[in-house]
């Protein structure tokens, strides 16, 4: 019993040490912080991860990049983004990861989707509130702290987050986001209703003004590959005057293999 406890304690110490190393290494690349922001709109505590370039200065403004599903992707994305900034492949930017304090996967189903799907026994379809949170609570929270270029706000998401990113572009004219990176977007959600939203947006005479990067893995199911390509083709054919769109399919990539490379390529397209 005592030996087991000692072993457990040693493993715990080793684990905590390794965790500490990881965090320290990340903060060596730039200024890395975590904070909690309570949303009155959603009544949720969001965990906000921020990363500033190592030579960040208040004397200049920076593009602001929001990343959904930050618990899963923020750290890897920071490493890629930092590398690209160091190599001058993209302009310096501020990366903001949007996660949850007390992460539970059901939160992303609630916040990233629209409309609601009654077939789930969890709350869904609250993307409108989530985007209100991004625009009216998170953006002021970040922009009060850091020097941001308001003409370069980018939203990145994968899977349901990719759906949310496209939704953020189409939910109303004059999206606050000038760049959208939608990787393997779940456009199949509720009978592919995002396609109806796009048609309504067009029929209302609205224009799209953004740089949009859509990508999917070639080895994903047809509901992913077909619909991502269809959305890209459809948006291209609409001739939105201020839409700059790029679509890419990663040969042989599965759903889990697209996010990081997709975010990197998306930022290369938008911030190069």
């Amino acid at each position: 019993m005592t030996k087991s406890l000692v072993n457990f304690f040693c493993l715990l110490v080793a684990f905590l040490y390794l965790q500490g190393c990881e965090k320290e290494e990340l903060s060596q690349l730039g200024t890395y912080t975590e904070s909690v922001l309570h949303s009155d709109l959603i009544n949720e505590d969001f965990k906000i991860f921020t990363f500033l370039p190592s030579d960040y200065s208040d004397q200049q403004t920076y593009p602001l990049v929001f990343l959904m599903d930050a618990e899963w992707y923020f750290e890897k994305t920071v490493r890629e983004v930092e590398e690209m900034m160091t190599n001058n492949q993209i302009s310096d930017c501020i990366l903001v990861g949007v996660g949850y304090e007390g992460f539970d996967e059901s939160q992303r189903f609630r916040d990233y989707t629209y409309p609601a799907d009654d077939e789930y026994d969890i709350s869904t379809g609250e993307a409108d509130h989530y985007h209100d949170f991004l625009e009216n609570e998170l953006m002021p929270y970040i922009e009060d702290q850091f020097s941001v270029d308001p003409s370069q706000r980018i939203l990145m998401g994968h899977s349901l987050g990719g759906l949310s990113a496209v939704y953020g572009l189409l939910r109303k004219p004059g999206s606050p986001f000038t760049g959208i990176v939608a990787i393997s977007p779940s456009l199949w959600w509720v009978e592919q209703s995002i396609f109806g939203m796009e048609k309504d947006y067009l029929d209302a005479g609205n224009d799209l003004s953004a740089k949009l990067y859509i990508a999917v893995g070639g080895d994903e199911p047809p509901s992913m590959t077909i619909l991502a390509e269809e959305m890209a083709d459809r948006l291209q054919q609409r001739n939105y005057s201020n839409l700059d769109l790029k679509f890419h399919s990663y040969d042989g990539a599965s759903h889990g293999q697209t996010p990081i490379r997709g975010f990197s390529d998306g930022l290369l397209f938008i911030l190069n």
């Binding site: 996967e105 077939e119 779940s186 199949w188 009978e191 592919q192 396609f195 109806g196 048609k199 070639g218 080895d219 994903e220 199911p221 047809p222 509901s223 992913m224 590959t225 077909i226 619909l227 390509e229 269809e230 042989g252 599965s254 759903h255 889990g256």
Partner: protein
């Protein structure tokens, strides 16, 4: 793939097996499977035609190496995450290494467990359509596929040539594949078969 996708499923299967044993070592099996997914949230129908040839077999028949060719046609209309509506056709060429253990045997009954490891190259063709939004696209994907699974066969010999079989099969290969199992057959397959020996 997160756990939300792994809903329980029940699959009924009709399995017909015709297997002439040509020279005691080389065996050719044809199997037709008709699978129906019995799930109120999903509709799934599949038809499988399978041809398998044993290349090498141990004297006891316990270990064997086979090549197989199978064709599956699915009609899928699922109300689930990552759903796909439409038809999926899979042509599959594979190499199978199997280990069969006879758990019980008497004059008429035998119960055997077979574990297998398989590699296959699969070509999938699918169509996705939604008339409301004028979506109608074909999709194709080619992939290598590693599978592991096992099945149990209870065989009842009617006479020297004919026997009937009850088959239960788990195909973990679908679980190794992040998404494709949604299109295929997760969980346990129940089969009813008839077999003729030569």
């Amino acid at each position: 793939m997160n756990l939300h996708h792994m809903k329980s499923t029940l699959i009924g299967s009709l399995l017909l097996i015709f297997s002439p044993n040509l020279n005691g070592q080389v065996q050719i099996n044809w199997a037709w499977e008709l699978n129906t997914l019995l799930d109120i949230e999903k509709k799934y129908y599949g038809l499988q035609l399978q041809l398998e040839k044993k290349l090498l077999s141990s004297a006891s028949g316990r270990y064997s190496l086979s090549v197989g060719l199978s064709n599956e046609f699915h009609i899928v209309d699922e109300k689930d995450l990552e759903q796909v509506s439409g038809n999926t056709i899979q042509n599959q060429l594979g190499v199978i290494l199997s280990n069969r253990i006879k758990l019980f045997k008497n004059q008429r009954f035998s119960l055997a467990n077979t574990a297998y490891l398989a590699w296959s190259y699969r070509r999938t063709r699918a169509n996705f359509s939604n008339p409301e939004y004028q979506i109608n696209r074909d999709h194709s994907a080619d992939r290598h596929f590693v599978g592991i699974g096992c099945y149990w066969k209870l065989d009842y010999a009617l006479n020297d040539h004919w026997s009937v079989q009850l088959v239960a099969k788990t195909d973990l290969s679908r679980w190794l594949d992040e998404y494709e199992f949604e299109l295929a057959r997760p969980g346990l397959l129940y089969g009813l078969g008839i077999r003729k020996r030569f």
